[in-house]
Symmetry: C2
């Protein structure tokens, strides 16, 4: 409803032609290029010959209809991921698979409930990612892997698509929910990206509690690290072959006002050193949102996703080439990122609530739920 | 020459039609969309009617010509910047203006000499940026401004457009030439982006000397900092109104093989705190290079350049909308970044050596030189 009025007033300031955008069938498809062209030429014709309000006067019935229907007009939806990679089926027990699916379901439902209650997409993605960070199963927050120094260094980012505001943190330690710290950077600082010790000072200044190292301790992660800690090897999370699965979590959402948002959080690579920063906290690479195109959260071989500017690549294919979110996301994951040998996946949503979740690996922990009643949780290719 | 063969072999693997791309007049303009379409239809016609090698057989003369001319075929060029902002003419003395122009000229000539001697674009941009870092006039390297803690935190990035390799560092201290550390990240590590203390460990591991703080001491910078150090204000470099000019340096170049590269380096904002990371070290935001489109180095209000993913935006406008480097760079600086209230400028070069240097501020320290004999150094709008 709010979005309707915004769109109307935008038109009003441009050319005083208001009512066309509130036709029930015009509403969300106004962003569709071809449709927009067609309607615009019609508008111009009337403008030249008649009073600019003419269109309102001749079609009052449709306008009245729009008013009634408009509450149900915005499809809302959410998608989440818990990382992608070479998930060999044999290594997964049915019990473990259940645990993963249960954790994904809890995150998905919590995020969806925010949207269902009329909350913002930013609140929804933060809520969903916080729950994934609180699970020891995923490489983010509590489940973060060990660095070469035996510590935990985490990265996170959040972006909203209406005003293109964003916040990101990198190389932070002891923070229970890095995504909420990223949100505070977005909401409470002039900056977009804070890192390292400085970001920790910001965390303390803005009242974030610092957890003790044992909060992040996990026997499986510790054994992973012990296996390679004296080598120069680093390891992407949960790997069958010491690399292959990318430990990142993320969420994208479209709310009832048609505003979209994306959030991403990661514990990096086991045994990583030198203050390596991956794609997750980089706006445009691992995380991006723009109401005009899509909201994206990536998981993959971070260095390649940075070089491919993957999240913004999906957005540009939609904006400049007119692709749908599904075609743009697929083009990037199945063609463009493969050219530079990057592997992984992404989740994306557009402002009509359409979701896409492509990956070029064996599997990706993922889930989605829409206001149309569709719900989906999966790990492997299907 | 090398580039010719690459292009030929790419065509060979696609469709066995090799020789057209080595016609003298086809060569560099092969990337031009319209031309490419025209020639491709010609190729298809012959392919349908004749053997695929037919075109080679009927036009041997042109092919021979291409071989002879090809050494001189690639225009090479370089552009540099030393920051953009509200440079009020009255505040600049003729002596100081001379100093700036002399420093820009030295950097430009050093980079150009690398290209003239057949060096790579990566070497050229590193050489040019190192000299700007060594000057106390610009906010990078030696001339870096003071942080809230009275220290110097520097960021830098470098990227090459052939393989899309990149390196970046952030929040580093005591390094004489941050751009060379970024280059080492690109050349000697598996990673793209290292930050903070970890990046300093990498610097020591790869043999970078650490300068003492007095190397970076400058009376003007110190007074700038003293003026605001006890406030919550931070200040972009060289400002007339305590903000307005953006202290960043950068270079973009196209070498004789048609390979392009970009490098960017900065000392951040006076009195900055919380480990703020700007756009300069972020691939896609402040720095980007891709032989198929352009190499870009930005200078501006970093947070807005991150949210606008500015450098990759220029590249996408070229790749997906077919704009020239000049039109794409202008569209981004004069329209797209202004929509989110970002100000600053950028320098860009394409693989034909065409240069563009738009800015939406009062001035930008800048210079360019091409193998066609054009040379240009300027500060204000002209």
């Amino acid at each position: 409803m709010k979005r309707e009025f915004e769109r109307s007033s935008r038109l009003r300031s441009n050319g005083q032609i208001v009512r066309f955008s509130t036709y029930p069938n015009v509403k969300r498809s106004f962003q569709n290029k071809e449709f927009s062209k067609k309607k615009k030429s019609l508008i111009l014709f009337f403008k030249l010959k008649h009073n600019v309000y003419f269109s309102v006067l001749v079609r009052p019935k449709q306008f009245a209809k729009a008013k009634v229907n408009k509450i149900n007009m915005n499809n809302f939806s959410i998608a989440i991921h818990g990382g992608a990679g070479t998930l060999v089926k044999g290594l997964m027990t049915p019990q473990l698979e259940d645990q993963y699916k249960t954790a994904l379901n809890e995150s998905l439902e919590a995020g969806y409930t925010v949207l269902e209650n009329g909350g913002t997409s930013v609140d929804a993605v933060e809520t969903a990612v916080k729950l994934l960070e609180d699970s020891p199963l995923f490489n983010a927050g509590k489940g973060s892997v060990f660095t070469a120094e035996g510590t935990h260094e985490m990265d996170a980012a959040i972006m909203e698509g209406k005003e293109l505001n964003a916040g990101a943190v990198s190389l932070i330690t002891g923070i229970k929910n890095p995504v909420s710290l990223a949100r505070d950077v977005m909401d409470k600082s002039y900056h977009v990206f804070l890192a390292g010790e400085g970001a920790m000072r910001f965390a303390k200044d803005s009242g974030h509690a610092i957890e003790k190292p044992d909060y992040f301790y996990d026997e499986v992660r510790y054994q992973q690290w012990l296996g390679i800690k004296d080598s120069n090897t680093f390891q992407l999370d949960h790997s069958a072959k010491k690399e292959g699965k990318f430990g990142t979590v993320g969420a994208v959402a479209c709310d009832q006002n048609g505003n979209i948002a994306a959030a991403t959080s990661t514990g990096g690579m086991t045994n990583k050193k030198w203050g390596r920063v991956g794609d997750s906290p980089m706006i445009g690479a691992g995380n991006y949102a723009n109401n005009n195109t899509c909201a994206v959260s990536c998981t993959g071989s971070g260095e390649f996703f940075i070089r491919g500017v993957v999240a913004y690549d999906v957005s540009c294919l939609m904006e400049f080439k007119g692709l749908s979110v599904a075609d743009a996301a697929s083009e990037v994951i199945h063609k463009r990122i493969l050219k530079i040998k990057g592997d992984g996946g992404l989740i994306a949503v557009d402002a009509n609530g359409n979701i896409s979740m492509p990956f070029n690996t064996e599997g990706m922990y993922r889930g989605s739920k829409t206001s149309k009643g569709e719900k989906y949780i999966a790990i492997y290719k299907e």
